[in-house]
Symmetry: C2
Subunit: 319 residues, 2 copies
């Protein structure tokens, strides 16, 4: 079992690599080799199998051809330009999120090895005229270029699978929170930083009201689901390989109360409530009445509570 | 008013050009110039304004840059590789239907002139797990690469419009029947040939049963709708620029009865009922319970009857 994580240097990629190192099997087979690839050389992980790290620019077909070999059995395609970044820099978003995805799928087709491809789509594909409640069979009407590029990726995953070029599966990720590390250029960044920074003793800005509702998943559960997602059999997935990954809907206020319950009252006092119109404009188009019917039936799960999510951060990530 | 028809050599493109020549205005302005562009030099039309014809390969950005100029006000993007062709030749389908569309939109973005772009999508975007009844807000779950490429085009039209790069509108065309001229490589070809050839005194093969239901529009109505589609104002269209074009659902048997009512019993006797599994496999995945809510509200229309449709063929197209 040879695994490649494209985006292996990111938060989810690194946590996925650490989990794979711990379980040492995927799809019922012992892992022989794991490659972490990213636009900058990713940090390696300690594992009971061979681990390589490599620089790969998915916008460059030649670079993709070096990363995906005839021996690659499972590809995690996590690499992406996130929402605010893709909104500001349209070219780079298209280059990575659309053409990068295409380059990966084309390489698989050229090889003819039909690898498993796990693609991370996003709840950013919902929006506009799509009717609530939202889920596996909702109309994608994204209100960001990032969401549009992810919606296109979903269609490509389905078509390359239908044609027998890959064995694909695409999961629309909820917003990942509490996301460790430094802020990225996602408009959803504050949905982690208002917990992460205060739990680390630092101040953070909340740019929306306490009643702002959104759909969340912890990094730990996300990685669990990505591993289950690779393990799913083609017959169980059926012809449509695109589905919502389970999450939970909470208000900012509920989440802060959960943090206070787990970590005491001090962190919440480090939050500055400063409206930011640019962020509000993007996130107000996002949706929260989301249901993960198919993935739930297939055994993927959400966090039981946001208290759990805070505990995961403290256990897994607090510096 | 300068108009470009990409796919100007095709059946719809030629009829659209003839209609534009007749009305001589679009979007409330006199037409000054019409360019018909296609992969082979298209036939010109007689018009009370300047008409140019040109060879344009939309898969080639340099070719697209020659066809779309700073003076181009309205672009009809009709050029496509049709369903069976794109299914047999995956590369060419992707090159024309996905990257060709991208090249056109990118040229518009580079120019910064925000032209009106009228894109023809297709009911082939419906399928699989999308629930009936189908329409503007249905989940696209295409079962052909052609349908996937059209669904991607819809997302790009919406995003390039949202970003202010174009003033786009995309219409999911019903199956066009009775389509004049020679058969093309669309799996839907028989849905025209079983009327066209018998009305011309020739035999034709019907590869499906008489109770096969499908969703149709005459070429005449399609062109009327494409002209109305260009005339629609951005404010009336709203943020979501993708919609179903009106059509009507009929069975093959009903359509043959309509032909007999208009043209007598002889044509129907020229139909050979020969099942074709390859065609059946594709068209059985197509859908017919389709409703064009938004376009109907905006004034686009379907044929009143298939009898009318037969009369249109006899009046407009019979050699």
């Amino acid at each position: 079992m040879n695994i490649l994580i494209l985006g292996g240097g990111g938060v989810v990629g690194q946590k996925l690599a650490a989990s794979l190192a711990r379980i040492a099997t995927l799809r019922g087979q012992r892992i022989a080799h794991l490659t972490l690839a990213d636009i900058k050389d990713p940090a390696p992980v300690d594992a009971p199998f061979a681990v390589a790290t490599t620089v790969c620019d998915i916008a460059d077909p030649a670079s993709v051809a070096l990363a995906i070999t005839p021996q690659t059995d499972v590809i995690y395609l996590l690499a992406a330009i996130v929402s605010s970044h893709a909104e500001e820099d349209f070219d780079t978003g298209m280059k990575i999120n659309l053409f990068g995805t295409y380059n990966v799928l084309e390489r698989c087709r050229q090889l003819g090895t039909q690898p498993v491809v796990v693609f991370t789509s996003s709840i950013a594909i919902y929006g506009g005229e799509a009717a609530d409640p939202l889920g596996d069979h909702s109309y994608p009407n994204p209100q960001t270029s990032y969401g549009g590029q992810k919606a296109i990726g979903e269609i490509l995953i389905n078509d390359y699978t239908r044609k027998g070029f890959i064995d694909g599966r695409a999961f629309r990720l909820p917003t990942i929170s509490v996301r460790p590390g430094l802020p990225n250029r996602a408009a959803s960044g504050f949905m982690s930083s208002i917990f992460r920074e205060p739990l680390n003793g630092q101040r953070a800005i909340c740019p929306v009201d306490a009643d702002f509702l959104h759909y969340y998943l912890s990094p730990r559960k996300c990685v669990e689901n990505l591993i289950k997602g690779a393990n799913l059999l083609a017959d169980d997935l059926g012809q449509n390989r695109v589905m919502q990954m389970p999450g939970r809907t909470w208000s900012i206020g509920q989440m802060i109360d959960a943090m206070t319950e787990v970590a005491g009252p001090a962190p919440a006092e480090l939050i500055d409530w400063t409206p930011q119109p640019d962020v509000q404009r993007i996130v107000s188009g996002w949706r929260w009445d989301i249901h993960a019917g198919k993935a739930t039936r297939l055994g993927l799960t959400a966090d039981d509570s946001f208290q759990d999510n805070i505990r995961h951060y403290l256990a897994d990530d607090k510096p």
